[in-house]
Amino acid sequence: VSLPARVSLLIVAFLGVVAIGAFVVLHYFLGGPPVEDYSSGVAANTGATVHVVMQEAPENTVSTHPDWVSYFIQNPQTKAWVHTTLFSVPAGSRVDMTIYGFDGCTPLRNPYWGKVTGVIGNTVDVNGKAYSFINSWSGCNVGHTFSIPSINLNVPMATPGLIQANKPGLCPTAPCQPGTPAQVPYRVMQFSFMTPHTTGEYYWQCRVPCGGGFLTGFGGPMQTIGFMTGNMTVVS
């Protein structure tokens, strides 16, 4: 083999390795769901209020895992639903959270997590009615939770009743739109909490074993950022 051919082969092989490395870095490390920015234009540590809107949808028809349950976050500017579980909020501020619960019920493995903690007043408003505890074993009451362990925040997500969920059925297409179609059942959860003064990443998760088909129900969407767990980034 001639020298130019060998040099060319070497260059091609080198470029191939570089391309593979770049793909890995871009795809696995820099890729991922977008971060919905609720912090821009709001001064940190002033007690200012931001309003974060989310939903949990029973079937995620916008990803490669259409049968995985997933949270969505509303873009604060466009109001469009975005398939992500990452959002940023200012430090030392009040977050008024609204979560639309479109998914059906699944009992908590540990009913202790039906207790509301870490929010202002220690209650969650479900369709306007305040609850400090929702028993997921006494009825079709809880679908998921929104929990930020490091600030001891835990809020059970109420569900449409069993009869409503079976007939007419849960929202079939994600992201769901409240009231569209009119008969799709859902619940509206509202609660408020104060963000920490310390900036950083605060992971949040669901405590209902809703990774159906996986070991103990905690695989799949429960272990994947962008579905049932994510990060709240607190910025200054």
């Binding site: 029973p58 049968d67 009992p107 493995r109 074993w137 998760q205 159906g212 070991l215 129900g217």
Partner: protein
Amino acid sequence: MAAEAPPTSTPQHAAGPSGPNHGLRIFVIWLILSLAADLIIWFVWGPHLPPGAMSSSASTQQFTIRVMAVMAAPVMVLVLVYFIYALVVWRAKPEDEQDGPPLHGNTRIQAIWITLTSVIVLALFVFGTVTLYTSNGAGGGQGASPLQVPSGPVLQVQVIGQQWKFTYRYPQFGGFETTDLVLPTNQWVQFNVTSIDVIHSFWAYQLGVKADANPGVNNVAFTKIDHAGTFVVRCAELCGLWHGAMFDYGQALSPAAFQAWAKVTEAKLADVTAALPPYSLTYDPTFIPQMSKAMVAGGFNGAQGFFYAPQDPFQP
């Protein structure tokens, strides 16, 4: 080619009858350095060795580490002294090109070496076993039937591992459950450690308590806290996406302060406690007798560890 000249003198590294006594030299150096190392380890370094002395189990572990370090130091010093002595004293001179003396076995040294190391290992084995037994497991999980149980009143605390948080139940206070681990000083505590999903490991670092949390298994560990203060609780078993964030802080209070906290918390959590499953050493998530009839009718029977109704999405 000129014939090689025969050696005309005794090699410098072979200790002749009038040479220095290398064995005695090494022994003296070793003795001085070992004594210094052991004194430093025991009196200077020892009190700061992990995991500290906050509890009986932590103190036992620290004492054990001190004993082992004190016994290991002379062995290490001997190896290093011999190594350095050989490098310095027996190093071949630049002009010395002759072979060294042939090596021969030394039965006496071999016998001493084997006997001494065997005695050290067997002594440590006996010491470790006795310490483990007399200290009620030294803070380690002993399984469901511990060999040694402390006498006197014991506070029962159940540790429940779940992705990704430990919760704690206090059966002697109505069985309330909380995310706060609060313990009294000067009283034996029995941790009943279990899990309701995957394998975790309950590690209260400053208390010197570490016990695996396995689903369907009760793993018992004991400790007695000597000083009030805070301690770190970590999961020591890779348990999923947020394993690294599965840590928290516990608190040790005076007995009176603990009693006050427990009674207030029991009353505060009464409504939640009423909805919890009855206190049990393990919990079977595939069988929930409290499940409402409507839920059972809807197909939520908990079979196979899943709570999904048959019509729900299912990922094979």
